[in-house]
Amino acid sequence: MLSRTADNLFWMGRYLERAETMARLLHVGARMNLIPDTVDGFRSEWVSILHASGTHAAFEKKYGEAVERNVITHLFFDRDNPSSVAACVAAARENARIVRTALSAPVWDALNGAYQELKGLERTPRSEISITALTEWTAKQHALASGAIEGTLLRNDGYDFIHLGFNLERADNTARFLDVKYYVLLPDTGFVGSGLDNVQWQTLLRGMQMHRAFHWAYGGDITATKIADLLILNPACPRSLLTAIEEATNHLDRLSRAYGASTRAQTAARALLAELSETRIDDIFDEGMHEFLERMKRQVADISTCVSETYLIGAAA
């Protein structure tokens, strides 16, 4: 497979996943804003959403104050923001368009269809679209595309590159989601574990469509520890860091078997997987949640760099 084709497939996967994350962040932000204000002087919830999206600085520069309408524009519609849902959908579709030959017709249909519908959404008056509708639309497009990928693509190296992009992005995004919680954590640690704190955790669960799963898996009270365990260490949770890294490792293993050569990316992913498998949730709280998540984001980025250097650049022999 052409290195450039692999690169396009990898990024198609990443953008597809990122589009959904951004939409879910919007959803979480909207719900958190429905919860009565906390104490005076704390940052608006939208600011924490923007921090988690990694685009806070760009937002401030363009829009200034974080009011809801602007945040929706920024995170969903604004194509100047490379991480907005619209930009991600367009980028996923453009990457797919470039490698049409490596995709099945249904996959292209799904991505191209999403893009055509997006253009319709962009023309619709904003007063007629709710945040929920935007989130649901994005999740649906994501489901259509992943369904087409699972159902119709050959299980060859191209499939592995899509999934590598997908899972590395998901690992990064789950870390970002959990970080929202860090950003809304009140300065006074006395609030931790209080009723308010739990409401915010619940919102996070709902944002990730994980509240039912939580009850099935843990039961009982919703606590920060259980939620962190679900989203970081639970191998049954499709969005957990562990699951994403395990999947990425599987696809790297498949590639190295198919190509008959092991790679640094594989080594790095296996090391991270081994660490996560051994970690207990208390270790994470000991290290500090934010510090742990920052480190995870860095390590995932390192794996991504290794993948790029090994497969996607295509250095001459």
Partner: protein
């Protein structure tokens, strides 16, 4: 009263036999159904992604070329003659190219002026003396044809470099078959779907002698911002070959390689969809980012085949065009089956005088122009446009040729008011490799504006499915 045009469907109000199968179909389609079908076709084109992307001009970057559902029909007998004529021309053009980059016998024999060939902008000095595999320079020859009467076909121009539009021929058919399956059951229509496989075979058949085993064929595209990118990726997909950009290829040793996830892989045949000038920055334009540095060295030493071969453009130059009938006689010893449109060369003083005196009756074109730009259609021009063009021709006569305004045939076409005759042309795609092949069909372009003779998509033209009836 204006000129009369040959109507391909009706003769004195009666339907010609070959269109009989479409009469009932058209009658049985009320306006609402027609609009529905038209919308369905458009949605299909958009979904498949067959758009003619035009970036950097504002507006929708994904423009559709208008598709007219009313097919254009040829009888088997008509097609047999056309096909023989097109293949004959493709053979002569290739013989000409092999000759002018070698001993130039046709020039020595005084049949074509040396200046027209060797000082032509499209003549590539860098490939003189190189003989490509099977002596084929132009592997895909697109011949643009117009019709003016039952038996009267004229060649408007030859395209020896990288004629585009074949994906429309294939997709127009796919969409018609999908929307109107009954039509295809009731009429016996020759299939065109063999084209991609023929193209792959043709390209593989011109692999260099150094290639061992099954040749690796690739399509070289300028990239996804190119207006014909859909076609490039469509053909790569249908042939099952890689679609590469210049950055995916590099030269090392005596070969050209592509960068893959499993390391370098040797490339044997490059079907390039970029111009000569961009192929190799070391040989042609040094600022080209689209090409592969060193490619021409590999080509010269027989490490890779390039289709069409660099330099092929000299054969489809508008100034050379007038000599194609001579080429057919000279190289093949045959009588041309298809005629040229009579052409005046403004470079010749007598011709230039005639052109200036009769500007209002002629079509004047730039020698190197394409896409319907930079041309004057005398009968439709205003006096000031005529005056302006006269000045241009006087300033640089060598840059212009002129032809009579042809009474292009018309074919029924769906328009807002119902069905009306619109002018059409035809581009069949002839493949030249080990064999010379032509699928029964081509791209029919139609001028959708009433009275218009310009069929280019950039100027309001559309496309139609083209049928050849089986015997």
């Amino acid at each position: 009263m204006g000129p009369t045009y040959f109507n391909e469907m009706y003769e004195d109000g009666a339907i010609r036999a070959l269109y009989a199968g479409l009469e009932g179909w058209q009658r049985g389609m009320p306006d609402e159904l027609r609009n529905l079908k038209q919308a369905e076709a458009e949605a299909l084109f958009r979904r498949i992604g067959i758009t003619f992307a035009v970036y950097g001009e504002g507006g929708d970057p994904d423009r559709l070329i208008p598709f007219d559902m009313f097919p254009r029909v040829f009888t088997n007998r008509e097609w047999t003659r056309l096909s023989r004529g097109v293949k004959q021309r493709a053979r002569a053009l290739n013989a000409f190219l092999a000759d002018v980059y070698d001993r130039g016998e046709i020039v020595r024999a005084g049949r074509i002026p040396a200046k027209l060939v060797y000082q032509n902008e499209a003549f590539e000095k860098a490939v003189v003396g190189i003989r490509p595999p099977r002596s084929v320079f132009s592997h895909i020859v697109g011949i643009d044809l117009v019709r003016t009467g039952p038996e009267d076909f004229f060649v408007l121009e030859d395209n020896c470099r990288t004629p585009s539009g074949v994906s429309y021929m294939l997709e127009n058919r796919e969409i018609m078959m999908r929307m109107f399956p009954t039509l295809f059951r009731e009429n016996r229509i020759e299939p065109v779907e063999g084209y991609p496989e023929q193209l792959r075979r043709t390209l593989a058949s011109v692999a260099p002698a150094k290639c061992e085993g099954e040749p690796t064929v690739v399509i070289l595209t300028p990239g996804h911002f190119n207006s014909a990118y859909y076609e490039h990726s469509f053909l790569a997909d249908m042939m099952g070959v890689e679609l590469v950009e210049g950055q995916d290829l590099y030269v090392e040793g005596d070969y050209c390689w592509m960068r893959t996830t499993e390391g370098p892989r040797r490339v044997d045949v490059i079907y390039r969809r970029i111009d000569d000038a961009f192929l190799d920055p070391l040989c042609f334009r040094p600022d080209s980012m689209l090409g592969i540095p060193g490619l021409m060295n590999v080509y010269r030493s027989g490490g890779v085949a390039i289709a069409s071969a660099p330099g092929a453009g000299v054969a489809d130059d508008k100034a050379i065009y007038t000599f194609v009938p001579d080429m057919i006689r000279f190289y093949l010893g045959e009588t041309p089956i298809l005629n040229n449109v009579p052409t005046w060369q403004c470079a010749k003083a007598d011709d230039c005088k005639y052109v200036l005196e009769n500007l209002k009756d002629l079509v004047v074109k730039e020698v190197h122009g394409s896409g319907g730009y930079g041309m004057l259609i005398g009968p439709r021009a205003t006096q000031s446009e005529l005056d302006l063009f006269a000045v241009r021709v006087r300033d640089n006569p060598g840059n212009y040729i002129a032809q009579p305004t042809l009474a292009l045939s018309t074919c029924p076409t769906f328009v807002e008011q119902g069905i009306a005759p619109r002018h059409v042309d035809l581009r069949p795609y002839c493949l030249v490799g080990e064999k010379i092949e032509l699928v029964p069909g081509g791209l029919t372009r139609v001028a959708l504006k009433e009275g218009s003779l310009v069929v280019n998509s950039s100027q309001g033209g559309g496309v139609k499915d083209t049928w050849v009836l089986a015997e």
